[in-house]
């Protein structure tokens, strides 16, 4: 089935945070879960459970100090993206991560899921957009760089 528009909740300033305190992967995931749960019927604890369960299957650390925790979440109606940068490097499965780009996916639409991840990988792989993700303190820049991910149509 082809969807004719993207299935993402709006990605704006409220889905972005800088300089969050977090000393462990668990605390970092808690912060991401809190942001992802906002506006859904899930509690942040439930969201954390989904993200943690996915991490147990394999780390979502992806290089360049970035991890992409994500999960398929039963019951959510739209995909949701959030960006979180921490004050310090976190030990993320024996890698150093400072940024989480987290996604809550609806359960179905595997083609959309893969297309979104492919676009995210492309953004992180691109040096210019990666430098922005790593260093900018301007939320509108993060919105500009990550928005294409939320505009995927499959």
């Amino acid at each position: 089935m082809k969807a004719n528009k993207s299935n993402f909740a709006a990605f704006c300033d409220s889905e972005i945070c800088f300089n969050q305190p977090a000393s462990t992967k668990k605390k970092a995931l808690q912060q991401a879960a809190l942001m992802l749960a906002e506006g859904t019927d899930l509690s942040s604890a439930q969201m954390l459970q989904h993200l943690s369960k996915r991490e147990q299957l394999g780390s979502t650390f992806i290089g360049h100090g970035i991890a992409i925790p994500h999960a398929r979440i039963p019951g959510i109606k739209q995909n949701k993206l959030c960006y979180c940068r921490f004050e310090e490097m976190i030990d993320y499965d024996d890698h150093s991560a400072q940024i989480l780009i987290a996604i809550a996916f609806t359960e179905e639409a595997p083609e959309e899921h893969v297309a979104v991840l492919a676009k995210l990988a492309q953004v992180i792989d691109n040096k210019t957009s990666r430098q922005c993700l790593l260093h900018t303190n301007d939320k509108s820049e993060i919105v500009r760089v990550l928005s294409p991910i939320t505009e995927i149509i499959t």
Binding site: T60, I62, E111, H113, V114, L117, A118, A121, Q122
Partner: protein, 89 residues
């Protein structure tokens, strides 16, 4: 060099976890392993590049393997794809 065609058989395609399995397996070999899918080319030892293929169920990837252990590496890659990356469906 060994060239082979590998099919994406699992329902979810080359999502992040399946991509990580490809990369982890590729890293066990010294050979260079390249995947080409829908006109895009990925070095199989790079998680970002493998994910960027955006390969979904039904897609075919050309897999090129070159190096001292290319026979074993090619066979292992084929086995992983045929096993649906360890997924049930």
């Amino acid at each position: 060099m060994i060239q082979q065609t590998l099919s994406i058989k699992n329902r979810l395609g080359l999502h992040a976890r399946a991509s990580a399995k490809v990369v982890n397996l590729a890293n066990k070999f010294g050979s260079d392993i390249t995947l080409i899918c829908k006109g895009k080319k990925a070095y199989a030892k790079s998680i970002l590049e493998v994910m960027m293929l955006g390969a979904v169920q039904g897609d075919e990837c050309q897999c090129e393997v070159e190096g001292d252990d290319e026979t074993d590496a090619a066979a292992a890659m084929r086995e992983l794809f045929d096993a649906r990356f360890g997924e049930d469906s």
